[in-house]
Amino acid sequence: MFKKFTKEDIHSRSNIKSSVQRGLKSNLIQEYPGLEAVVDVIIPKKSQLVLHKCEDKIALYSIDDNVVIYQQQDEVLPFLKIVHKYPSCFQTVQVDRGAIKFVLSGANIMCPGLTSKGAKLPQENLPKGTIVIINAEGKENALAIGKLVMSTDEIKSINKGIGIELIHYLGDGLWNLSLD
């Protein structure tokens, strides 16, 4: 989603209404229930979210020129630095060490990279479409965010093809974006 994203893809910049800000926060909690306790820390009540409308119907929301969340269609997603601060608030998968360089070059994640010895999937099934944060073998912090193309049970049983569509990763256009 942000592989080739640059400043030139941003079309407009505007302050959003507090009612819209509240709506976004409730969407965020709905998608990531773990964030309920910290959503007012991530987006303080008195802060002003700035909307940056971009190419491909992508919307970025920032506070003090730092991207906090972004949206494509209805899905609200967290910026990776927010994930790094509150990793336990999100569903997590782990890729093996061999997959790291592919993820960092923006490739979707293949099932075998999620089922090999160095990889980890949660015990309970996560349905198709779930937003997951992607950790890596031997690493502490997430390197990407993606969306399950099939359920985690299917990833385990089919073990072929793309398992996760990559959305945002370390070093992509969003990570490197400076808004000031």
Partner: protein, 203 residues
């Protein structure tokens, strides 16, 4: 995974995890090994966070690093990474050499018998917005200045009036300010008669 973001009683707020970001490549330092600037990243971390540096790169840490991959696969990864890093370093060196060998050219062009304009090229080294620089010139020399593209499709700034010496003085000072004393500033007349070709003397 099993951790819940709320502590007992649902009142206490989860404290954010402090993550350090590399001052060179911007990644959390544990991912520096996958970037193109690993050597510089390591130097930065050693200088700025020795504790994390030891945690990642001490002999002990390296010996304990676990990987599910076979030795052959691990060797392939590190060979690929080294290749990438060498390439990146070579590229940076080339760019550096290019910057150092570049020069700022101040060309005096005769428009009519009495009127001259000054075309300044090679300003990329300043790494500033050309339009802004043209504005600065215009107000500094109380004249008009605009950005155009020259025959080599490079941007240059055209300044109205015979202000070559003043431009040279100003740019030389600016280069010194930025520590770019290796870059030469040269003035030429369009008739190709060299007026001045003095290199900037580093102080």
């Amino acid at each position: 995974m099993s951790e819940v973001g709320i502590e007992s009683g649902q009142v206490e707020i989860l404290a954010p995890k402090e993550v350090i970001y590399c001052g060179v490549c911007s990644f959390p330092p544990e991912y520096c090994e996958f970037g193109g600037s690993f050597k510089k990243c390591k130097e930065w971390l050693q200088k700025n966070n020795l504790e994390l540096f030891e945690k990642l790169y001490s002999d002990e840490a390296l010996a304990h690093a676990t990987s599910s991959l076979s030795i052959e696969k691990e060797e392939k990864i590190s060979a690929d990474l080294q290749k990438k890093q060498k390439k990146e370093e070579a590229k940076q060196e080339r760019e550096m050499a290019k910057v150092l060998s570049s020069k700022v050219l101040i060309k005096r062009i005769e428009r009519t018998k009495r009127k001259h304009v000054i075309a300044v090229s090679g300003l990329e080294v300043f790494n500033v917005d050309m339009k802004k620089l043209a504005k600065t010139f215009a107000s500094k020399f109380a004249t008009g200045a605009s950005v155009t593209k020259n025959a080599e499709k490079k941007e240059e700034i055209i300044i109205q009036g015979d202000v070559g010496d003043a431009v040279e003085k100003y740019l030389t000072g600016l280069l010194q300010e930025k520590g770019l004393t290796d870059i030469k500033v040269e003035q030429i007349d369009e008739k190709m008669k060299k007026k001045k070709a003095e290199p900037v003397k580093p102080e």
